[in-house]
């Protein structure tokens, strides 16, 4: 599959060889066009023209599918970076010293090319090294960049290009200042400062409230000890199917978990902690003996049931775990 694609690519320049004019003027022509709109918007004809061998310039073409009906999220994610790269290079290289042309070929305008290259996916980036001059590769076959690692930044694309075309200048990427963001941040900061200075007398009792801080600390601790950071880092799914149409709440395996699973565990820990607090602090403060007796049984029962359930859940995770408590 891949081989045949390459084969088609190899044949491609030969096919359009006849229709070319002198390659000397070609780079200048396209480079002049790229000064007004970079990267170049190509179609089937101009694609063939720009990549035809022999050439004394390099071409980087992004084959993409931006239209909404193709649903190519990756294409749309990468497009701003690609435009940024094109603009920076057009500005930084007005005289065309790098001898690199950047072009975009959208599927809507280049169906023929996609068909010829036998491309099933987008985006794909192709780099055509020059066949003569600097960085020349004799066979002139394009190098292909698959976006297997997700959307790339403009800098990493430049890194990739530099690896294949080590010589020649590479203009630096110039990211435009995000004025909107600067204004937003300044306004927000000023707003917060104003709010605090105005509402200080009302906020102070809230900040100094011990119950609030206790609640914050306990929630944070429960969150972290129930494996929230693991979810965050590994990006685990929230739940998964069990293969029989139902939902499996607990992931198999000791070092594996689902998002919902950690929430269940945090709730169990929370209940157990709360039962402990109730038994230790609330119950001895009850003045009615009958009520106190009842509270002890209720909280003790909750603690036993929950702990037993926790152990049974842990046995799912760790098959060889030998201990259990009565109810579960």
């Amino acid at each position: 599959m891949k081989c045949s694609g390459l084969l088609a690519l190899a044949l491609l320049p030969l096919l359009c060889l006849g229709a070319q004019k002198a390659s000397g003027g070609r780079f200048e022509e396209f480079h002049a066009r790229s000064q007004s709109s970079a990267p170049l918007r190509l179609d089937d004809a101009s694609y063939d023209q720009i990549t035809a061998a022999p050439r004394n310039h390099s071409v980087v073409v992004l084959l993409t599918a931006l239209e909404a009906r193709f649903g190519c999220q990756l294409c749309r994610d990468f497009q701003p970076e690609w435009d940024l790269l094109g603009n920076s290079w057009a500005k930084g290289d007005r005289n065309g010293e790098s001898r690199i042309l950047l072009g975009t070929l959208d599927f809507a305008e280049g169906k023929e090319t996609f068909r010829k290259l036998m491309l099933q996916t987008a985006p794909i980036m192709l780099l055509f090294p020059p066949t003569s001059g600097q960085n020349a590769k004799p066979d002139g076959q394009p190098v292909r960049f698959d976006f297997t690692a997700g959307p790339q930044s403009a800098e990493s694309v430049v890194g990739w290009i530099t690896r294949h075309l080590p010589e020649g200048p590479k203009p630096a990427i110039q990211r435009p200042l995000n004025y909107f963001r600067i204004i937003t941040i300044t306004t927000t900061l000023l707003g917060i400062v104003t709010f605090i200075s105005v509402a200080y007398p009302y906020i102070l009792p809230v900040i100094q409230n011990r119950n609030l801080w206790a609640a914050i600390s306990l929630i944070t601790i429960l969150l972290f000890t129930s494996g929230h950071m693991f979810n965050h880092i590994r990006k685990v799914p929230y739940v998964a199917g069990d293969g029989k149409g139902g939902i499996s709440y607990f992931a198999g395996g000791f070092s594996n978990q689902f998002g919902m699973e950690t929430q269940i565990v945090a709730a169990m820990y929370g209940t157990l902690s709360f039962a402990t607090i109730a038994l230790a602090l609330k119950v001895p403060r009850m003045s009615d003996p009958k009520k106190q007796q009842l509270a002890v049984f209720v909280w003790g029962g909750i603690m036993l049931g929950m702990y037993s359930f926790l152990l049974s859940v842990f046995r799912i995770k760790n098959g060889g775990y030998p201990f259990h408590l009565p109810p579960f």
Partner: protein
Amino acid sequence: MVAAALEPFLKGDTGRNTRGLLRLIILCTIAGAAVASRLFSVIRFESIIHEFDPWFNFRATKYLVQNGFYSFWDWFDDKDVLDNGDRWRLMHRELGTWHPLGRVTGGTLYPGLMVTSGIIYHILRLLSMPVDIRNICVLLAPGFSGLTAFASYLITSEMTTSPSAGLLAAAFMGITPGYISRSVAGSYDNEAIAIFLLVFTFYLWIKAVKNGSAMWGALTALFYGYMVSAWGGYVFITNLLPLHAFVLICMGRYSPRLYVSYSTWFALGTLASMQIPFVGFLPIRSSEHMSALGVFGLVQLVAFVEFVRQQVPNKQFQTLLRGLILVIFAVSMGALVLLTVSGVIAPWSGRFYSLWDTGYAKIHIPIIASVSEHQPTAWPAFFFDLNLMIWLFPAGVYMCFQQLKDEHVFVVIYAVLASYFAGVMVRLMLTLTPVVCIAAALALSSILDTYLVADNPTPKEARPNGQATGDVVKNAADYIKDSLRSTRNPVLGIYSYISKASVVGAVTTYLLLFVLHCTWVTSNAYSSPSVVLASKLPDGSQHIIDDYREAYYWLRQNTAEKAKIMSWWDYGYQIGGMADRPTLVDNNTWNNTHIATVGKAMSSREEVSYPILRQHDVDYVLIVFGGLLGYSGDDINKFLWMVRISEGIWPEEINERNYFTARGEYRVDDEATPTMRNSLMYKMSYYNYNALFPAGQAQDRVRGSKLPAEGPQLSTMEEAFTSENWIIRIYKVKDLDNVGRDHTSAVAFDKGNKKKKTAKRRGARVLRVE
């Protein structure tokens, strides 16, 4: 009757003495239990150093006791002759690691551990007890765990008036798997003494803040210095103490006590830490230490302003002063940021930075991300290591809010921060364990103190003669206006015996279950030396698998003394320690590129690898292969990390995708990709392997897959040694061919193949290059 006889022992001075004696006996018993529960591996196997890093520490300790303390110190501190880098290079030339570079910086070497065991060794010699240094190294961690239990008794006793809390904390600390995991006999690593030092430094700090005494502050600094000499995790203390001070100031709790203790600790502690050659000037040059410096400045400012305020009691002036503090603080923060940006202050080192930006290591330093103990922690690991304490922990933290004195603030901060760190990295479970033990003991002791009282209160009457905790809680509820919601009413006590009995019974059951759990975990999960493996035979008897040592001793006996061994970095220290041969890379992962070079040699085709091996003078290549035995920690399972790490340096030559099948599976059987099957690691692992099985039946028991009928061919190396269970395989790198042929054709010629066939194979190879 018995009660009457005991009466005189429980009252007055005698009573106090009796209780003190009892406490001492209990503590000694706990220390005994702590030591004993760490001896599984010694009893099952033998007195042996475990794992990987301990082998290096053991080696350095042997150097210390053989060449004497001064020689060891000179070895470190010979500044007149050599500069820092050369000194290390010399040392590691001697140890023969990181061939051909030598190790330039100390990386993980903190001398505290070696010096401690050296001192113990010499004291024992002085007492005419000639104990082998190996046994001291093996038993150092269990010994210190007894001290850790004692230290957690001390620190918990500072938190509460309940006498049982400290004892409970000591017992928890003694047997909790979270701490045992790094301190079983034979696990001779920095953490072995560092956790004791951590807990004890915190205890001294609490003492210092409570008393405002320069003596306790200086003691804190002293033990902080010891901690710096022992473990890189000292940075945790360096940041936690300033944070505590900072939070206290923000809460408006600045006091001269805080000023005295913090200033003493910071000044002396920083000086002490700078005495360690490896730390040197880091405390004033790197971002990790800047918070301590900043809070030191803040404390001075606040102290000055407080002083002026007492002299000039004008309200406007006070506001002005407060503004002054804020402005100076903001300006100096800005200056710090500026210095960091301009590079005067070193930015956060990657290892610490990856704690905050959790995606950082995976992208930029795969070598750190590749270590299994740097992975994030899933919830079962918490429960596995802490059992019932994991849910007593939040309750204990809540109880700290009841009184919220300075020391309780410390516990709360410690708890929140440490649980975050433990969530990000499995390894940092170790720093979480002490605070979990303290908080759990606080929670449990308050239950036991409430329910283990013999006399019942009379209903409808608030009686003040409850137990100790009861009193305190009541007083707190009375005197602190903004107390917790659940402690507003006065404490009365428990009325019925049934309630008491049921709760106490349940708690006792949970505690017994905890002990069973700890023993089970320690015995099953944490007591394997990983150098020696154990398995059960069908008849239930134990079978020892000793392939590692078999292979290392083979290397020691059968190879030239200067023979360079290449292996993945995990085995570097072990080869250095047991086989006494130079290695290319070892567990001190300071040079990513060099490790990536080894990774590239392992994951490329023979034609690419051979020049690399020649360039690095490699004589033997050692790999670990678990396919025959079903040992899952082998090199094929670690292989993807080698690929990833070398891909980071040579993205054009190595591509992780090529090692997966089209469907994204990692396979070793018939469907394995050509890149996989031509990689040196694959070939070395499965070379000759199918000779063990009937034709076409070769089976990999780790990956559970059937191997290709035809095994891989090796041409640039030859099998030198394979251990009994095939876990270790050693290959000798062939010398250049005598007649100048390349190895492929030489092998083909030896086999009697005609030249034509070789040419054909070469043609096919060109296609693959593309």
